[in-house]
Structure formats: C-alpha cells, structure tokens
C-alpha cells in the first residue's frame, strides 16, 4: 500500500511540480520558495491570498529546479518571499526577472536557516506584514513566535550539556540564540564523503561532548550520522530543520510550530535539561 | 558403413528469399576423409554450419549421426575449426589451456580438470607435435603452429567428426603440407571422419579419397582423379544447369 502511495506520489511529482490553479480561484498569488516561508506567508496573508510553495512537499529545497510554469508563476505573482544567497539559485534568477515586490528572508546572515530562530524569523514576518499591508496579522504571528521563543528559553535554561551533534550545520541560528553549541558532521549542506580520519575525528569529538545522541534530519539519508553514532556508541535521533514537511506529516496536522516544539523536546532530552 | 552426415534436399538462406544453398544432397560415411572446395562465397562455410547444426535448413533434412543436426545431443563428439581469426581477447593463453578447453562439452560443462582430461590433452598435444611448447603462450607461436593447437583442441574431445574450415589461412606452404600430412595420419590412426574445407585444396588432394565442389549446390562429388582438369582452378567452376 505504501508502495502504491509512493508510486502515485512520485508520479505526481513528475506531472505537476507546484500547484495547479483551478479556474475559479481569482485571488492574488504569493509565491513562497519553500515551506517555512510559505507557513509565514499563509499566516500573515490570510484567506485573501493564494500561497504557493515552490518546493514540493517532502522535497529538499536546496538547489531546486523550476519548470517553465514555475518561473511564470514567480514572475506573475503578487508577491514573492524567498531566500537569496545561493540557497535556491533558480528561484533567485526567476525573481530577478520579475517586476513587483519581493521579500528576501536572508538579511545579512551567512547561514540560511534563519527560520529556526523564532526571534530572527519574526523579522521576516514583520517584513511580510509591511509588504502585504497587513500589520495586524503580522503582529499576531510575531506574538506566536515570541511565545515559541519563551518556551525555548525556559526549557533550555538548566541543562547538563550545552553541545548537541547534528549531521549538517542547520541549527547555527538556533544554537546562538539559546547559548548552545552545535557540532556538525558536515557543513551547511550535505557534502561529499569525508576521509577516514575525518570520520574518526568526528567520532572523538562526539564522544568528548558526552552527547547521548546524534541528530539527523528526516528528509535525507543519514549514513554518515549512523556510522559516527555507531562508532561513538550512541544512537541517531531526528531533529528537523524544517526545510520542508512531507505530505504525510502535513496530513497529520504538523506545521512549523509543532515541529519546532518537537525539536525542542528532542533537544532537551539530548542536553539533559530539567 | 554408417553415415556421419546426411543432407537431403537442403536449402538455406540467411534472409528470406536468399539462396545460399539450394537442393543440396550430401552423404558422408563414418571414417571418410573428404575435401570440400568451391569458390569464395559459394556456400562452403554455410554448408558446414548447416551440417554441424549451427544453422537450420530452410528446406530439407540435415542429420548428424542419425539425429537432426540442430538438436544434436552430442552423443558422438564433434570438432570444428571455424574460419578464423585469432583467439578472442588479449589475455595470454597457453597452448595447453587452448587444448584443455576442448574437453568442455555440453555433457561436461562444469567440473575440474580430471586426470583423464590431462591425459587426453597431453595425448592430443603429442599428436600434433606441440608437446614441447605446451605451456607457451599461443601468440608466441607461428600461424601454422597455432592452427595445430586448435586441431589438438578438437582432438582432445575425441571427435567422431572433425570439420576444418580454411585451415590454411595465414599458414605458409610448407606448414600447409605438414598440416595435410598430420590430418592424414590422424585419419589413418584414429579413423576420424574429416571434412577439409578450402577454396584451394592442393595440399590435401593426394590424401583425400573424395572431393566435393560446392557452389550453391553440389557441383561435383567424386574421387580427385575424376575431377576434370579445368576445375582444378575453382574460378572456372560452373553451375550445372
């Protein structure tokens, strides 16, 4: 059954990347280049807008390709919210070709994962509110993010350890915000296989932190994380950088906030917080 | 005398409508030493392939030791030196390895080299006079000696029927003579049925009892001394109307 569902899912990816517009939907479109931005856009824009996520559910947004139809959608949209700086070059190119407002979530940050820090993410929400002329809605979302931030701060206040291990360096913003240290097995995006002694060094580092778990993100294969974890005598657990959510999880009602809370739960366990 | 080969009304073409062979009737008795000759492109090789069961006749019957040739069970071993060529691949292969390969048949496809295998291989090598160079790589030998290696390979299977197609390609005149004598000796000693196919049969003419000329069908079939003088030059062979 799962095989059939996956086959249909795969076929749908082939046939229709991006959403199809029904004839009767006359609302203005906001194009968001991947999930967290789409989440924010939906909350701020409300039902008067149609929000389109350029990255299909469950796909990794990094380096996505855009079909000609996608490019047209970007060009014609009322507003585009995206992340510049090489995260999704195809989207950047499409945005450059467009006249019309856009919101760039990148700011000055070198690490693209800005949405994992609720306070930093608030700035994107605020800018969305300005661009859409919906300051009230934006403030409501910012309040939710502040609450998220509060819960993080409280939960992570009293912990035995401050270092957590991830398979790639997605959580820099989060770590900085809450005074934690992220030990990443690879860089900002999944990389080539390291050399043998690099693996050994990582294992030693993991052991040195005393971390009971190596975190890996759900969307990617985690061979390196599993190998390092096995050598270090710890297990692998999921920490979601929320670059996208699979159709399954969206169907279960998961969203940015719920996953951030799941991640908080995983972190508090790994760091031994009271 | 029982028949090694029976071809009756055999016609064959590689493509529909093509007539490489037409209405061929041929009988080879066991223990005969026959030369098959004819112009290039006249169908000699094709005739051998049909005879050996490598191709199925489009019309007529081809029997090998009484069985349909293309479904031959291998009851009596066969030997075939195809018109060739060199041994496939660039791997160095020793003479002994070539001859030992002759021990592999459909009836003995897997299994290690037995003592019996070794004995028959050594025997075959001696017969063709390659005993001294058995462990030399094949490519270090002359054309004539390489051919002997392949003859030894065919012999190792103890064939009841041995077909050689253009065995003199790349072999100098003197070696051709000694090759013909070797075959004659084998024929005399072992009673193997030998079919020697060549577009020119001067070397074996004195050793064979029978010559068959092929040009789409059998144009001549009889003892060498019956062969009209002008037909010694195969370029002058006419199709009988």
């Amino acid at each position: 059954m799962r095989l059939l569902a996956s086959a249909l899912f795969a076929t749908s990816l082939l046939i229709a990347p991006g959403c199809t517009r029904s004839e009767s939907d006359a609302r203005p479109t906001i194009v968001a280049s991947f999930y967290p931005l789409a989440w924010a856009a939906e909350r701020v824009a409300g039902s008067g807008y149609r929000v389109v996520n350029m990255t299909p559910a469950g796909a990794e947004p990094h380096d996505i390709e855009l079909s000609p139809r996608d490019v047209k959608e970007v060009r014609d949209a009322h507003l585009v919210v995206y992340l510049s700086g090489g995260f999704q070059p195809a989207v950047e190119d499409a945005v450059a070709d467009r006249d019309g407002p856009s919101v760039d979530a990148r700011g000055d940050d070198t690490d693209p994962h800005v949405w994992l820090d609720p306070v930093r993410f608030s700035r994107v929400v605020a800018e969305l509110g300005r661009a859409l002329g919906r300051p009230e809605a934006a403030r409501r979302v910012e309040a939710e993010l502040r609450e998220l931030d509060r819960r993080y701060r409280v939960a992570l206040r009293n912990c035995m350890r401050s270092t957590f291990v991830t398979d790639h360096a997605a959580f820099g913003h989060l770590a900085r915000r809450y005074g934690l240290t992220q030990l990443a097995l690879t860089g900002v995006s999944p990389e080539a296989e390291p050399a043998p002694r690099d693996v050994e060094r990582l294992v030693d580092q993991v052991k040195a932190t005393g971390a009971p778990v190596v975190f890996a993100e759900p969307l990617l294969s985690n061979r390196l994380a599993e190998t390092v974890a096995r050598e270090a005598g710890v297990h692998v657990s999921s920490l979601d950088p929320i670059e996208g959510l699979s159709a399954e999880r969206l169907g279960e009602g998961a969203d940015y906030e719920s996953v951030m809370l799941d991640d908080l739960d995983a972190l508090t366990k790994a760091l031994g917080c009271r | 005398m029982s028949l090694a080969v029976l071809l009756a009304g055999v016609s064959f073409g590689y493509r529909p409508g093509q007539r490489v062979l037409e209405h061929v009737d041929l009988q080879l008795g066991e223990g005969e030493f026959v030369a098959v000759a004819g112009p290039n492109g006249g169908g000699k090789t094709t005739l051998m392939r049909v005879l050996l069961g490598l191709e199925r006749p489009t019309a007529g019957t081809a029997l090998l030791f009484g069985e349909p040739a293309h479904r031959y069970s291998g009851r009596r071993p066969l030997g075939y030196l195809a018109q060739r060529s060199v041994v496939g691949g660039d791997a160095p292969v020793t003479v002994r390895e070539v001859v030992t390969a002759g021990r592999v048949t459909s009836r003995r496809l897997v299994g290690r080299v037995t003592r019996e295998d070794g004995r028959l291989v050594a025997d075959a090598l001696e017969r063709v006079g390659l005993g001294a160079v058995a462990d030399a790589p094949l490519r270090t030998l002359s054309g004539g000696m390489q051919q002997r290696a392949f003859i030894a390979k065919a012999l190792a299977a103890r064939p009841a029927l041995l077909v050689l197609d253009e065995p003199t390609t790349g072999v100098d005149a003197e070696s051709q003579e000694s090759l013909a004598e070797l075959l004659a000796d084998l024929h005399g000693e072992l009673g193997v049925t030998i079919v020697y196919v060549s577009h020119e049969f001067g070397a074996v003419e004195h050793h064979v009892q029978r010559i068959v000329l092929v040009r789409r069908n059998i144009v001549f079939d009889g003892p060498p001394h019956d062969l009209p003088g002008m037909w010694h030059d195969p370029g002058h062979v006419h199709v009988r109307e």
Binding site: L3, E193, P196, R197, L224 | A91, V104
Partner: protein, 265 residues
C-alpha cells in the same frame, strides 16, 4: 586504523569487491562486452533513483534493476543483426533517459546521490557487509564453477557452440554476474568508477601474466591489493577512499605497463 569498526568494515567490503569486480571484468573484457557493463551501470543508477523515490533500499532496487537490465541487454545483443542492434540501442538510451528523469526527481527529494556516484565505503554497516559478503561469495562461487565454460567460449566461440555449450545462457549468466558486481561495487567506489575497478586490474594482469588462469588470478590479487592499499593510503593521507582505490589500481597498471615494456613485450 583498525581500531575503528567502520574501517574494519570498509576493508572487508573492499577486499570482497576487490576480488569480485576484476574477476567478472576479466570475462567481460575478454568477450569485448564492455558495452554490457556500461549499460548495466546506467540502469543500476536508475535503479538507485527508483529506490529513493519509492522509499525502498536503493541498493536492492539497484540490484534488481541491474540484473533485469543486464539480462535484457544481453538477450537483445545476442539477437544480433540490425534489428537486435536497434532494439539494444533503444533499451540502452531509454534506460539512460529514464535514469536521468528518475534521478532528477530523486534529486528533488534530494537524498545525497553523490554517495551512489562516488561510493560510500566508510558508511557500510554490518548488515551491508553481510549482504556484500553473501552476494560476493555467491558470485565468486559461480565464477569458479563456470570458469572452464566461460574460458572455452572465449578461446573458441564457434568451437564451443559445436560442442553444444549453451552460449546464450552463459552470456546471460555473465550479464547477471556483472549486474550483481556493479550493484555491490557501487558502495565501494561508486557508479562512475565501477568500470575502472573491473577493468584496470585485468589490464594490468594481462601485461605480465603468462596464461589465462594466471591472468584471472593476478587480476583478483591486484584488485584486492588495490582496495586494501587504497583504503590504507586514503586513511593516512586523508583522501576520499573510493577514488584512492581506483588511483591505486591505475598505479599498479602503470607499473605493469613499465614491467612489460622493459621485458620488451
């Protein structure tokens, strides 16, 4: 180096593939059937992409795809003639195109395809090794059993045919062996370098060996040595292991080339 389990697993996997790949490559090269190996490699990669899309173990789907593809390619190739060639070309290019599309879609899911292209020997698990060992042993056993038959076909195909050898079935068996080998070798050196591991040790051995059997034995010896030495070098020199293994094999080939030149062959 031996203290880390992942290195021990890598060395074991490398050794097994180091024996199997050249052994199978030996027959492919002698039969001038590198096209079959090429085609299988592409089909295997399409199989990986299919496995990723379907959330099934990619090495398993690669294996299935490789075997089916290899057998199909072999059956079409042996049909011979223009029709056989055309059909083969169609399957070949359709396979590659399918692979491109599937890979693009799998790339949309962005699992790290890099590891399938270039190998991931350092992340081999114990169960991976068990599979590699089992299939590797089966493959080597099959070669041992069929060696004389394969050799007979290489030495004299027409003669083998007349002797009643099932040439078609042997070719299919070889294609299946090649498929399994490629699927396994994918973990060690990646799809892009599989052919190198199958061919380089064979070419090296062919330069200095003195018989067919010694060529085969030497090929596998060089294969194992390249894998083990390559891994060791990558360890101490901090280099990617898959590429280092193949470079080591290339180095051995150059040495063999030099030796044969000196000998005057």
């Amino acid at each position: 180096m031996f203290e880390s389990e992942f290195m021990r697993l890598a060395l074991a996997a490398g050794a097994i593939v180091g024996v199997l790949a050249p052994a199978v490559g030996f027959f492919l090269v002698q039969r001038r059937q590198s096209l079959v190996g090429d085609g299988i490699g592409h089909v295997a990669f399409a199989g990986v992409a299919a496995g990723i899309l379907l959330d099934v173990s990619p090495i398993l789907t690669a294996l299935v795809a490789a075997v089916l593809g290899g057998v199909a390619i072999e059956l079409l190739r042996s049909r011979g003639g223009a029709a056989g060639d055309q059909a083969l070309a169609i399957v070949f290019y359709t396979g590659i195109a399918l692979g491109v599309v599937l890979v693009a879609e799998a790339g949309a899911l962005n699992v790290d395809l890099f590891q399938y292209l270039f190998g991931s020997i350092l992340t081999i698990t114990r169960s991976d090794l068990a599979l590699i060992a089992a299939l590797g042993a089966a493959g080597i056993a099959m070669i041992a059993v069929l060696y004389r038959a394969f050799a007979a076909v290489i030495i004299d195909e027409e003669g083998a045919r007349v002797a009643g050898l099932p040439i078609g079935s042997l070719n299919v068996a070889l294609a299946a062996l090649a498929a399994v080998t490629i699927a396994l070798s994918m973990r060690v050196v990646g799809i892009l370098l599989v052919a190198a591991l199958m061919v380089l040790p064979v070419s090296a051995a062919g330069r200095v060996a003195w018989s067919m059997r010694s060529t085969l034995v030497l090929s596998t010896a060089i294969g194992v040595a390249s894998a083990l030495a390559g891994l060791t070098i990558s360890y101490y020199a901090d280099l990617p292991p898959g590429g280092t293994i193949v470079l080591t094999a290339a180095g051995v080939y150059l040495v063999a080339l030099g030796v044969s030149a000196v000998r005057g062959r």
